[in-house]
Symmetry: C2
Subunit: 200 residues, 2 copies
Amino acid sequence: MSPMPKSRPYHHGDLRATLLAAAEHTLRERGAGSLSLRELAREVGVSHAAPGRHFKDKQALLNALALDGYDRLGQALDAADDPALALEPRLTALARAYLGFAIDNAELLELMYARKHDPDASEQMAAAVERTVGKLAQVVADAQKRGEIIAGAPEELNLVTGATLHGMAAFIAGGMLTPEAALAGVETLVHHLLHGLKPR
Amino acid sequence: MSPMPKSRPYHHGDLRATLLAAAEHTLRERGAGSLSLRELAREVGVSHAAPGRHFKDKQALLNALALDGYDRLGQALDAADDPALALEPRLTALARAYLGFAIDNAELLELMYARKHDPDASEQMAAAVERTVGKLAQVVADAQKRGEIIAGAPEELNLVTGATLHGMAAFIAGGMLTPEAALAGVETLVHHLLHGLKPR
DNA sequence: AACCGAATGTAGACGCCGCCAACAATGCTG
DNA sequence: CAGCATTGTTGGCGGCGTCTACATTCGGTT
């Protein structure tokens, strides 16, 4: 068992991580709007100014939260990606993973998309975003190399697929779409994206 | 010329509309986060509690802003929609209008998407959303009737097209995409959506 | 035209918030 | 073990949203 001191020693030990965990919890429960540093401090049992030692301001904490989100999203995508698969099943698996993440982390995803770039942490943030969209670009590039997808400016193709996935995730995060409906529709969604809506 | 009283009479006359206008202005200038009822009141020259007479709380004002946004978006879409056109040009025109609105009203659009549904004004809000997506559904339905689009559950088709457009708008609103790039890419975007990414 | 209730604006207060500065306890490194 | 950087505490500042009590004005009834 980990030590559970009756009265916490003066130094917490891992306040930063504890704050992030608590923040993610209330983010999940009550949304980003009702996140207060003071309340966080109360929940964790430190003074109201203690968080300031680890996050220069509230935005910094939100940024850290978002960054962590990109990490976990990246892991989920990596785990779901099988480069050996043909384009359609591969993209379907990726989409399923992405939408699954959106379902389980709706509020967090919103935070990740909210680009309040202070120019400070925006490097890390931009890098994280780049890493994420890069995975999609890789799939498109592979497919193009294998002739499974039309030629043409890759950015254009990335844009369509990215926008579609992003839009779906936003529908989920916004409550416009139930998780079941979203997951059930993934297959045909990808199919429509690849095969188009016009009759052949 | 309209009367411009040196010292405003006790009753403002049209405080509600004035507040909404001021709110939309600072929304555009400095984002939804830095909107304060008190500051709004100051700008307009009334007491800090006056806005409370017209909006029961801050969220109510945001809802009103969003509702107004849906009105204007609806007008823009209606103006751009020509039911006589074939599917591809018709959808392109609609997409252009939608993305144009996203460009000109990025912050507002974000507000419109943020579903903080208090169950009070959510009826109006849901109706507004329904009206908007209905326009898209109409295009799809017309196209299906004319055989310009594959058969199949209309909801599925609406979902793809809606998600793609929504995703593009979100890219714009989030700064991931410059207005020029977005508008330049509309045509090929719609083309890809209709014709698919796989080689024919 | 005079009245009176409803609508609208004002003043003040309460508790919350983010942030800052001054101080205290602790850990670390020479 | 001395000194310094780190981390936590206390207290305070101004701003915020919201509530209540009060003031002024508007509009319909008589």
